[in-house]
């Protein structure tokens, strides 16, 4: 009893001490402090700039503009010189005598220097950056890509700690986790399915993206519900001054973007869309007997209205669709012993996302702001198969099978943000209603039909607190707490998720960081995770499929030279996961009947990941780029798999290396190259075989020719490496006229056959007389997916002034 009392006293004391310190820090505000606030925007379009740095050159105090371009800065005295910086823009110096509570609307102009490709979105200042990554969109668009189409998700796999799953797919693995453990947000709303073309291309149109941030470790407390990574994508608002546009054609896609002011200076509009040429191509080669259709598009629309400097409304809409269908008509032939006049077969698959969000941000004072979002997101996959036979005797047979899976979230997130000198405090809530339809199946054969439906709902309440404290010039501390109550039909799960980050500046350009976090994920995913397969089935956590959990600690060192040209960072992390799911070893046939999904999964697995990430980056100059290396070991353990022993995660990439080079040859020519190397993924291969036998014990046959698969993921496939090259030629006929880009991308320049899967092949053997002697010794064949693929794309801007 005394011990318990002492513990309670100790906890209370620690809490009081912590709060006391917060207020001491706040209370040290001197009366001669001048608080200014405002927004930082791009001069050309008047769009807010996220992540711009505004620094008081006298006191060295600084602030970073948030997602609305908003900042608050405390100055030492009335007179000060403020320096405002952001990549791609001219730095601005404002020296003036500022008044208490003064609003500053700063507009940055684009840089007129020889175009440089800056490869970092961060400056030396700012919030703790351990476990965070980003790239400027301009870099993303210059790097060579498959089919010449800039792809956010594939490009970020060139950064340390982020790996690719299967070649050519959009599956992103962050710090040894699986793709379902990443939360992908577009303008604050989650997006579930990330793939077009069966997973070869991600659904994000880079023309419409303003900025993205990847969190590999500790996230802001306002976000949660996944274990591995957060990819926070912000789309552009649209130009508030002029109507502009951009059109691009590449071998795979055509895309356009139109933006402009609906009311100059107040309301802007942006519409961007992509669609594939493949549909046209398929139509061209379709005939009367064989018809193949394909439609793919994605669409981003956004309206931004600035009621005044302190009130803004954003309406975002995103939609993506892939719809493929093949129909075949065969005349004549027979089925069994029936003579057939005609048969018709059709098969089709369709999947897509719909996301809509309405955001409202208001700045109540130089210290308080309120932000809220209402969002809806839905992912749906459907497929069908239809067959009809007409026989000579007048009989007809017909069958129709259709299945659909979907999940949707409807949520509201609102928080208040308080900023004052060294403290930034976020306090808010998120309420989400979720609905899962893992599979609905309709089957009809002649006149009989069956309909199977599965439906599950969940309601999640989240409350969060996030506190950033700047402890003098030497350190930053962030503490976050998220409380979750996830209610399902059969149970309610509670989770208290702390997040902690400490960043300490050690000296000239050196920073050391430490972070720790815990989180839960209340959903599971069934997917093959392979190219060509977009059928993702999301399942809500239940009492029998409990939530996944993760704990992570990470520490890092970072050095950035005084002129912010070179960066070296080293991070180490350790993660433990529990409540994981894995596909049972059912072979390929098993996935055909996903209606009984509980029977396909193993639950309550454990995971452990250790890793080390190294990044060497040159950020400025005509020659920029980076080298990224990740060493990691990711393992899983399930009681029912591998005799309960730990085994490698399928995508346990022990070594992952990327070299990225961007070189500005002249104002018109830019060259880029990427080389990536990864340890091969893991597959399960038999360790032995029970030979083929013709044994029959009396009348009972013993089937041999059986492979012994007693170790899960026991083989590492040959390593993956690839070189891609890119050349971009930019020209402008008139100085103020439209600009043109012609890009050549060469994917897999030295035609490396990287393993997609393996198979064994044997050939029949015959003697001289043609007598069959059996099959030859099987040989292992590696099947690759993408050979050397060059592609050319062309972009042009439009300007309606």
């Amino acid at each position: 009893m005394p011990n318990t009392f002492m513990v309670l006293i100790s906890r209370k004391y620690i809490t009081l001490f912590f709060l006391y310190n917060c207020f001491v820090i706040l209370g040290t505000a001197q009366s001669d402090r001048t608080l200014v606030h405002g927004t930082i925007k791009a001069e050309k379009s008047r769009e807010p700039i996220i992540g711009a740095v505004i620094q008081d050159t006298l006191s060295k105090a600084y602030s970073i503009s948030d997602e609305y371009g908003f900042f608050t800065l405390s100055l030492r005295g009335a007179y000060s010189c403020l320096q405002v910086k952001y990549i791609g823009y001219e730095p601005q110096l404002i020296c003036d005598t500022f008044k208490q509570g003064q609003t500053l609307n700063i507009e940055l102009t684009t840089s007129n220097f020889l175009p440089e490709v800056e490869v970092s979105s961060y400056s030396n200042l700012g919030v703790p950056k351990l476990g965070r990554a980003s790239l400027p969109i301009s870099t993303l668009q210059l790097l060579p890509q498959l089919g010449g189409e800039a792809d956010l998700l594939k490009t970020i796999t060139l950064l340390p700690g982020i790996a690719q799953g299967v070649e050519g797919t959009t599956g992103v693995l962050i710090r040894g986790g699986s793709p379902d453990q990443n939360l992908v947000l577009m303008d604050g709303a989650p997006v579930y399915n990330l793939s077009h073309f069966g997973a070869y291309l991600s659904v994000f149109n880079t023309d419409a993206i303003k900025r993205f941030d990847i969190y590999k470790g500790s996230w802001p407390a306002k976000y949660g519900g996944r274990l591995s990574g957060l990819i926070d994508i912000r789309t552009r608002e649209g130009n508030l001054k002029n109507w502009e546009g951009k059109a691009t054609i590449s071998p795979l896609l055509g895309r356009f973007l139109v933006e402009g002011p609906l009311k100059r200076g107040k309301t802007s509009f942006l519409l961007s869309a992509r669609s594939s040429w493949l549909g046209v191509l398929f139509n061209a080669f379709s005939g009367e007997d064989f018809n193949q259709r394909y439609l793919m598009y994605d669409l981003n629309g956004k309206i931004t209205h600035q009621i005044n400097d302190n009130h803004r409304i954003y309406l975002s809409y995103y939609s993506s669709l892939d719809d493929s269908q093949v129909e075949e008509v065969i005349f004549g032939g027979s089925l069994g012993n029936q003579k057939r006049i005609k048969s018709e077969d059709a098969i089709g698959v369709k999947w897509g996302n719909q996301t809509a969000s309405l955001r409202y941000a208001t700045f109540l004072s130089d210290r308080w702001s309120l932000q809220s979002i209402i969002y809806y997101t839905r992912y749906r996959f459907s497929g069908f198969q239809r067959q009809m036979n007409l026989f000579a005797n007048g009989l007809t047979t017909a069958s129709f099978n259709a299945n659909e899976s979907s999940n949707q979230d409807f949520g509201i997130r609102a928080f208040a943000k308080y900023t004052h000198r060294n403290l930034s405090l976020v306090l808010g809530t998120e309420q989400v209603s979720q609905r899962f339809n893992p599979q609905s199946t309709f089957q009809a054969e002649n006149r009989a039909s069956t309909l199977l439906l599965s439906d599950a709902r969940a309601f999640q309440q989240n409350y969060f607190l996030d506190m950033n404290i700047r402890l003098g010039k030497a350190a930053d501390l962030r503490f976050g707490l998220r409380q979750v109550a996830h209610q399902t039909s059969d149970t309610t799960f509670f989770s208290l998720e702390p997040r902690l980050e400490i960043q300490r500046r050690l000296g000239e350009g050196f920073q050391a960081s430490l972070s720790a976090n815990y989180g839960q994920q209340f959903m599971h995913l069934i997917t093959g995770g392979n190219a060509g397969q977009a059928n993702e089935i999301w399942l809500g956590a239940t009492a029998s499929a409990p939530p996944q959990q993760s704990k992570q600690v990470a520490m890092g060192l970072k050095w950035l030279d005084a002129r912010e040209r070179y960066e070296i960072s080293l991070e180490a992390f350790h993660r433990r996961m529990s409540g994981l799911t894995a596909l049972k070893a059912v072979g390929n046939e098993g996935l055909e009947d996903v209606y009984r999904w509980e029977e396909l999964l193993e639950f309550n697995g454990e995971g452990r990941v250790n890793g080390l990430e190294l990044l060497l980056r040159k950020q400025k100059g005509s020659f920029t780029g980076w080298l990224a290396y990740t060493w990691s070991k990711s393992q899983r353990q399930f009681n029912q798999i591998n005799q309960g022993k730990w085994f490698p995660f399928r995508f346990d990439r022990r070594h992952d290396f990327s070299a990225v080079l961007l070189y500005t040859l002249s104002e018109k020519w830019q060259f880029s190259a990427t080389w990536s190397y990864q340890t091969g993924s893991h597959i399960t291969l038999p360790t032995a075989k029970i030979p083929k036998t013709d044994i029959a014990l009396e009348d009972i046959f013993f089937p041999g020719n059986v492979h012994v698969n007693d170790q899960r993921n026991n083989v590492t496939l040959p390593s993956y490496h690839r070189l891609d090259l890119g050349f971009t030629y930019t020209w402008q006929k008139k100085e103020a006229g439209p600009s043109h880009d012609l890009s050549l991308s060469i994917y897999n320049a030295y035609n490396r056959i990287n393993p997609y899967f393996i198979r064994t092949e044997s050939t029949p053997r015959f003697n001289r007389d043609g007598q069959y002697l059996g099959e030859s010794q099987p040989e292992v064949v590696i099947v690759g997916l993408f050979p050397f693929i060059p592609s050319l794309s062309y972009s042009r801007t439009f300007d309606w002034k």
Binding site: T684, P691, N709, P778
Partner: protein, 276 residues
Amino acid sequence: MKLKTILLAGLLILLTACELTRTYDEGIFPEAPPVLVCFARVENERPISAYLFPTVHALDTSSVNFVSDATVELYKDGQLLEELQFENERYVSAPTTVGVPGSQYQLMVRHNDYPNLVSESVLLPPPVEVFDYSINFSDSASQYSIDLSFSHTGLDAASYGVLADLYADGQLARDRVRTAISAADPFVKGDTVQFNLILPAQVTRFEDFIPVDTLHVDSAAVSIQSISDQYYEYFASRPNGEIGGFFPPQDDLFTNFEGGYGVLFTVSAERFGVKF
């Protein structure tokens, strides 16, 4: 028009000619030392028998190589009963040693080149009890239909096998006419299994594919076998033979031997005669 066609064809080739392959001869398959596989049967009406052979490399296509120089010991209720002898590719017990219902059997195999193989103890259950049967004759189909009911031992319905040796004038006309119970539920009602055995009323004998004689069946020896679950568990746990595919192959191959693989299973048979 020509340019358009060339462009379209070029695009199509570019987008569809993506798969490419290469052979890989760097020993990607794991090497594991061979272990013994045993396939053994204990039955109440026959001597105990066991096949023994080693596992091979996953890509080995050679035929089975039976082991003849192992020591195979049969234990009954924990006591050594006898050492099985190699005979015609398999190890068998003495002709007089048959399974005794209600006893536990175990096999132990020793060999200089392989790890020892020890089976779990399996119980030979008593055979089914035949409750009743009735015979119907269909003239048009020229066949007998025997409606059987017998005791249910608790096994899956598919574990029962019903066989009949057909006789004509005291001579064996055809042996092991077999019908397996394939559908599970309809045939099991509480403690009773109901089964319909269809037998031909006539048997035609062939010599060199030419019919030489037609025998009229006048009696049959019906055997009802109940095969233990171990056999079916092995059968169901076999992976489908795929190698290197996207999904993990089935990896829970059933065995009730330690130190290797294989199945020791039991067959309880009940025989009775039928006169037509």
